[in-house]
């Protein structure tokens, strides 16, 4: 394979990875933007999305088949279901804690993560679950480069979701409310905005996006495991920080950047795939030391 081949292949890999990271990072950034909470359990929402998607697909494949129609239908339903799960979690575990010290809500988030993680672990007896689809490896081949249709669809789906989100945030009244609340929650309350409802909506959208990523991961890698949310959570957080935590375009940019960096990073002989996680974390640490606000983030000035 030539350098060109490797480059193109890694760009494709990077875009795929970037898709997952972006979709999960968006949820992190949205929730952080609105209530300044790093939802520790967000990675596990991704994992739950994969399993829910698997379950729904098993049911729907009888009707829609287990190719793209079935998969996309399952994905939509999964997004809705897990979206509501996100709202439920927010309502039970986070809303009572909004006025408590920061440490308390962070601990609660750890608790939520433990519950989701262990619930799925118990249900699957800790085993990997095969995510079988009728998809194959067909795609476009150019010399040594092979891009499957699956990859194309997934990247396109992610792009579509991102466009949809952008329109939602910038054009609808709900999106405007979200942005307003992230700037000044009390002022919004005084303006008559139902802050709780918008927060719930933010969790719904963030969780739905993470669930979409989970389903796609299941389809792409062919197997799912209760532990899959753990690492993705950390990496998506890294992506959100790269782009600027709290910024939605930042999460999109960060996901892409991290995906590409990681894909090309695996080609560096010293790093390889064993150390790629350490590579990603190392990036995170460096970033937080030198530029914690990320590429597009706002420098927060605290009012005394």
């Amino acid at each position: 394979m030539t350098i060109f081949d490797i480059t193109v292949q890694q760009i494709v890999n990077g875009l795929i990875l970037g898709s997952f990271y972006t979709l999960v990072a968006l949820g992190y950034s949205m929730v952080y933007g609105i209530i300044k909470l790093l939802n520790f359990a967000h990675g596990d929402i991704y994992m739950v999305g994969a399993f829910v998607g698997f379950a729904i697909l098993s049911v729907l494949s009888g009707i829609f088949g287990d190719e793209w129609t079935g998969i996309l239908a399952s994905m939509v339903l999964t997004m809705i279901a897990v979206g509501f799960l996100g709202v439920l979690i927010q309502r039970i575990a986070y809303r009572p804690m909004l006025s408590a010290p920061r440490l308390s809500i962070l601990i609660t988030a750890v608790g939520v993560s433990l519950v989701l993680f262990n619930a799925v672990m118990a249900a699957t007896y800790g085993e990997y679950t095969a995510f079988n689809t009728g998809l194959d490896d067909e795609g476009i081949t150019m010399g040594h480069i092979h891009i499957t249709y699956t990859q194309v669809v997934m990247v396109s789906a992610t792009a579509l979701l991102m466009v949809g989100l952008h329109l939602f945030i910038s054009r609808t009244i709900y999106g405007k409310a979200m942005r307003a609340i992230s700037i000044d929650m009390d002022a919004c309350r005084l303006m008559g905005i139902d802050v709780n409802k918008i927060i719930a909506l933010t969790f719904f959208v963030g969780s739905a996006l993470a669930a979409a990523a989970g389903v796609m991961a299941g389809v792409y890698y062919g197997s799912i495991h209760f532990f899959m949310g753990f690492v993705i959570g950390l990496k998506a957080f890294t992506a959100a920080v790269i782009g600027g935590i709290g910024s939605i375009p930042g999460a999109m940019l960060g996901g892409l950047v991290l995906g590409l960096l990681e894909a090309f990073g695996t080609q560096i002989p010293w790093i390889g795939s064993e150390w790629k996680d350490v590579f990603a974390f190392g990036l995170l640490i460096l970033l937080l030391i030198f530029k914690p606000t990320g590429i597009l983030g706002r420098t927060e000035i605290e009012r005394m």
Binding site: Y32, K36, L37, L38, F40, I92, A93, P96, M97, A100, P101, R102, L103, S104, I105, L106, I107, T108, V110, G111, V112, S113, L114, V115, L116, F117, N118, A119, M121, A122, G126, F230, V231, L234, F237, V241, E274, W275, D277, V278, F281, G282, L284, I285, L288, I289, P292, E302, M304
Partner: protein, 330 residues
């Protein structure tokens, strides 16, 4: 309506268990006999209990030390550390590597582990403690994972995924420590040292500074307290507790692997700290004991244990954030 010259006085509430417990312990004269009885009882257990009981209690002591260490970070300084197991790994692997590969005397590995734990604490804490508390949680989690991956990948040094085996037993003035009751006493001594150190730290200039920073970081800064340095002290001291505990863990188990230092371990210790009551020394004892005894009592739950813990954690934060052990002040 008749004029009531003597208003009815509501009957005095009978003091609940909490109040009775606190009044018992607040009274200096009654407190010390209680401690003396506890210590005496603990020293006598090996003569009456079997190895199984000693094993459980040794584990409990070990967790008490870890909880006390994390308590300094989470309870005193208010920092959420999700990678605490990494420091425990540093201590255990330092002892394991130095004794297995280089033939060091166990007792000399303790200061070495201390140094490495301090270095690790400074490297991780230094850059991240300047940031918001949310970031610290995830970054410490990341470091915990990095430590585990490093331990798993550096096969030549750390033994890789299967870890180090054949760590030699230490000797104490000629007596080889290879019986369970040796470790029972060793860990108990560590517990006493840890409680002593925690108590002294809590009621000191440093302990007050932690509280100031925890209550209001900016006001503390305005009063001339370097909040980053203060947090770093807590983080590094916590690391030292875990590192030393790790040394003894390696000696007792004679084999360690990266699996002992997973995130679940960090989460479990955090769970115990929160359950017992953050910042309270007796709470740490209660929390650690609950953690170890709970699965023994409820064996059937087994794999659901962590699930229940997660639910308990959430419920605790919502309904009883102060933990099991009651607050001292009113």
């Amino acid at each position: 309506m008749a004029d009531n010259t003597s208003p009815t006085v509501p009957a005095a509430k009978k003091p609940g268990l909490e109040e009775r417990l606190m009044s018992l312990l607040d009274d200096r004269k009654r407190r010390y006999p209680v401690y003396a009885i506890l210590i005496l009882g603990t020293l006598l257990v090996p003569s009456i209990g079997d190895n199984y009981v000693l094993e459980i209690l040794s584990n409990s002591f070990f967790y008490i030390v870890l909880c006390l260490g994390l308590n300094i970070v989470v309870g005193y300084a208010g920092l959420l550390d999700l990678g605490y197991a990494a420091f425990f790994a540093v201590g255990a692997y330092t002892t394991g590597i130095l004794t297995s590969h280089y033939g060091w005397n166990f007792w000399l590995t303790i200061p070495a582990a201390l140094v490495f734990a301090i270095i690790a604490g400074v490297i991780i804490g230094g850059p991240t403690l300047r940031l918001r508390s949310d970031y610290l949680a995830i970054v410490t989690l990341g470091f915990g994972e990095i430590t585990r991956i490093v331990a798993r990948n550096l096969k030549d040094i750390t033994g890789g995924p299967s870890g180090l085996i054949g760590i030699s037993r230490p000797s104490f003035f000629g007596l080889e420590l290879n019986q369970i009751h040796h470790y029972y006493y060793a860990f108990f001594i560590l517990v006493l040292l840890a409680i002593f150190a925690s108590y002294r730290l809590q009621h000191s200039r440093l302990g007050r500074a932690w509280q100031y920073v925890r209550e209001d970081e900016d006001a503390a800064e305005a009063m001339g307290i370097d909040r980053v340095a203060i947090k770093l002290y807590a983080y590094v001291i916590g690391a030292v507790f875990a590192g030393v505990a790790g040394c003894f863990f390696a000696a007792k188990m004679t084999a360690i692997s990266p699996d002992s230092f997973q995130f679940m371990q960090s989460a479990t210790i955090l769970m115990a700290v929160v359950l017992g009551g953050m910042g309270k020394i007796p709470g740490m004892v209660v929390g650690a004991l609950s953690l170890v005894l709970f699965p023994e009592v409820f064996r059937e739950i087994g794999s659901m244990r962590m699930l229940v813990f997660g639910v308990v954690l959430i419920a605790m934060m919502i309904f009883r954030p102060q933990g099991i052990w009651p607050e001292r002040r009113n």
